[in-house]
């Protein structure tokens, strides 16, 4: 590399900018030229609802992060369901919930190992697409659970309860707890998490209802599903907004960290906390009055349904089209718009009911 003189550098810069401008002038490829061609789900050939359930299949579970209690519970559900159906469970995944490249390479690994189906909770709606489409071309069935990809990159999505229900129920819970009045904030996970952002969208929509006219959403903080960061973000929210009346944390890691902070501070019982959490995490905070009520679906059931869906896809009973049905474990499941299967209404936990649940 020769020493560029300042003059030469300037000429290069000018040439580069000139070239860029020239290319703009000639048109070029813009967003408008590219139609979203991944919008429709990828149907896996014709479906035969009467086909026999295949046995001895291998379903690879790929959570957002391994050793995360929530995904471990979902994995246990999947493992149990697969054992009931006579098939095999296997789990791989990255150690960090924001390691997109890691998740992509795990999809590739499962493709290489020729599993029959992949059940994946996507860190990112687009990043897994190339790898998942490659897997589907190789005959592997793909079902997303917990967090979806673009519909064209999988056969079906098992949704953990309607996203809209989940968003709205959290606002309703908090509004009741603070008497429909005051400043509230949200403590989310990663700023890019698809499911979090969808729920937050529905929360904002719910807040438009006139009955919430005295409630003001003053901030959204991101704890990146890290206990320490979430703890600090909670502290930050309270310092920044001294009149804060309540916090919604739609993430199991976030709500636990926020509960830990509130429980040890002067805000306990004064600032209300709700969101999505697991009964085991929050039991002591419900008992000591930090948390009144919160919601969640059962991740164990979510994992089980993902496993059943994967087996139904691999057996050819469904292909991912709307209206298809399959029977498993005595229940009939129906595919909705874009191959989405809903787990059902979220469960609300409070001091009366929490001891009935253990996960």
């Amino acid at each position: 590399m020769p020493h560029p003189s300042p003059r030469r550098a300037r000429v290069l810069l000018a040439a580069g900018t000139g070239l860029a401008l020239a290319l703009t002038a000639c048109g070029g490829t813009t967003k408008d030229d590219v139609k979203a061609d991944y919008a429709a789900p990828a149907p896996a050939g014709p479906a035969d609802p009467g086909a026999a359930t295949k046995k001895d299949l291998t379903v690879g579970f790929l959570p957002k992060q391994v050793n995360n209690p929530y995904f471990t519970t979902a994995g246990k559900g999947g493992e149990r369901a697969l054992a009931e159906l006579g098939s095999h469970y296997k789990e791989v995944g990255p150690g960090s919930a924001t390691d997109t490249a890691g998740q992509v390479s795990y999809v590739n690994t499962l493709t290489q190992q020729r599993v029959d189906a992949i059940a994946v909770s996507a860190q990112d709606p687009g990043a897994l697409c190339t790898a998942l489409r490659q897997a589907m071309r190789g005959g592997i069935k793909v079902v997303t659970y917990d967090s979806d990809t673009t519909p064209g990159c999988r056969n079906a999505f098992v949704s953990p309860a309607g996203a809209e229900d989940l968003g709205r129920v959290q606002v309703r819970l908090l509004a009741r707890q603070i008497g429909y009045k005051g400043e509230i904030a949200i403590l989310s996970a990663a700023q890019t998490a698809t499911n979090q952002n969808t729920w937050i969208g529905h929360m904002k929509d719910e807040l438009k209802d006139p009955k919430y006219k005295d409630i003001r959403l003053v901030g959204i903080a991101y704890g990146n599903d890290d206990a320490q960061q979430s703890f600090q973000q909670t502290q930050g929210l309270l310092q920044e907004h001294p009149d804060l009346k309540g916090i919604i944390s739609p993430t199991t890691v976030g709500i636990k960290a926020a509960a830990r902070y509130l429980s040890g501070s002067k805000y306990r019982g004064k600032v209300r906390l709700t969101g999505l959490g697991t009964p085991n995490d929050l039991r002591r905070y419900v008992k000591n009055g930090t948390v009144e009520a919160f919601a969640l679906w059962d991740p164990d059931r979510l994992g089980a349904l993902a496993a059943r869906t994967a087996v139904a896809l691999a057996s050819g009973q469904i292909s991912g089209r709307r209206g298809e049905t399959f029977r498993s474990g005595g229940t009939t499941y129906t595919l909705g718009e874009n191959g989405v299967i809903d787990l059902g209404e979220p469960t609300v936990f409070d001091a009366r009911t929490i001891d009935r649940y253990h996960f």
């Binding site: 590399m1 020769p2 020493h3 560029p4 810069l13 580069g16 900018t17 070239l19 860029a20 401008l21 290319l23 703009t24 048109g27 070029g28 490829t29 813009t30 967003k31 408008d32 030229d33 590219v34 979203a36 061609d37 991944y38 391994v66 050793n67 296997k90 791989v92 995944g93 990255p94 150690g95 960090s96 924001t98 390691d99 997109t100 490249a101 890691g102 992509v104 390479s105 795990y106 590739n108 690994t109 493709t111 290489q112 190992q113 020729r114 990112d124 709606p125 687009g126 990043a127 697409c129 190339t130 490659q134 673009t150 990663a190 700023q191 890019t192 698809t194 952002n197």
Partner: protein, 321 residues
């Protein structure tokens, strides 16, 4: 002891040999390793690290380091996504992203050379700053709808072969880096600077100018990697490539480039990059858990810092007096 044998215990040759042994073993014993599809996955996933490792090798040889590379890549990807959303043509956006990388490198270089600050401290600072700007630029958006021919270029392979389509471009850049470091006066001056900055200055080498050029080149390559990453994974987000700087530094160290400067070869860096990449691929195929993979990588790193020193001591001891 004949000269070729003492040369053979050089650390970068050891790493190269390890890479060949690992590849041969995996071909024979690991199911799913040897086919074209898997090899293309391996190369494609390793390319971002390899791309940044090229300028990083030159920088570390001269005794400096740039830890802001992954943030620069993230920023470049975030700008790519934002401008694409704004409706600009992709042919305009990519050159702009590369220019932005040059600017990031220039900031690093100026802070190091004009203020005389240590590059480690400066680039830890800009690591945070560039990532922050990326977050401001793109926020929580994920942009995925880039033109298919660009996505295919970054993620596809040449026909049914194991070579990613972007591989020839990498080979050109690799050749360029190798020639610059090993066959030009500029390259020799980097070793001189790494061995002793004062001495190099007295020898008439324009140390500050040289370093500035290196930081700019690193910024440019980081931005290029950022664009490649966003297209390879069809995903422009502010947190793209988080932590990539550690993989790059790990690979470069493993390749025998001395962190104190003055020693190392492009060949060694390349062997280090692909040894780590192949190892990760094989461990995944063998169902080694993510945590154990991290441990293996960590142990390798410690070995790679010790290894070259031991290898040198061995070579010196064997040299006839």
């Amino acid at each position: 002891m004949p000269e070729p044998l003492t040369r053979a215990v050089r650390w970068d040759t050891v790493v190269g040999a390890l890479l060949i042994v690992l590849s041969l073993l995996s071909f024979g014993c690991v199911d799913g390793f040897g086919n074209a599809l898997n090899l293309s996955f391996l190369l494609g996933n390793t390319l971002p690290i390899a791309l940044i490792a090229l300028p990083m090798t030159l920088l570390v040889v001269s005794g400096d380091v740039d830890l802001s590379v992954a943030s620069t890549a993230g920023l470049s990807g975030a700008v790519l996504g934002r401008l694409w959303n704004e409706g600009l043509a992709i042919q305009t956006i990519i050159p702009l992203c590369l220019l932005l990388g040059v600017a990031c490198g220039l900031v690093n270089g100026l802070l190091v050379t004009r203020l005389g600050l240590p590059s480690l401290a400066v680039t830890i600072g800009t690591l945070a700053a560039y990532r922050g700007i990326a977050q401001i630029v793109l926020g929580s958006d994920t942009v995925t709808d880039f033109p298919p021919q660009y996505l295919d270029f970054a993620a596809g392979r040449i026909g049914d072969s194991f070579l990613p389509r972007a591989f020839p471009l990498f080979l050109v850049l690799l050749a360029l880096a190798a020639v610059v470091l090993h066959a030009t006066p500029f390259g020799r001056s980097l070793y001189a600077i790494g061995a002793g900055e004062e001495a190099a200055r007295f020898a008439g080498i324009r140390v500050r100018r040289t370093k500035l050029v290196l930081f700019v080149a690193t910024g440019f390559m980081s931005a290029l990697t950022g664009v490649f990453w966003a297209l390879h994974y069809a995903s422009a987000r502010y947190d793209n490539a988080t932590g990539l700087e550690l993989s790059v530094v790990a690979a470069v160290l493993l390749g025998g480039i001395d962190f104190d400067g003055g020693r190392g070869t492009i060949g060694g860096a390349l062997a280090g990059v692909f040894l780590l990449g192949a190892l990760q691929n094989v461990m995944s195929l063998l169902d080694v858990s993510a945590q154990s993979q991290t441990v293996v990588t960590g142990v390798l790193l410690v070995v790679s810092v010790l290894g070259p020193r031991l290898a040198r001591r061995f070579a010196v001891a064997r040299r006839p007096a």
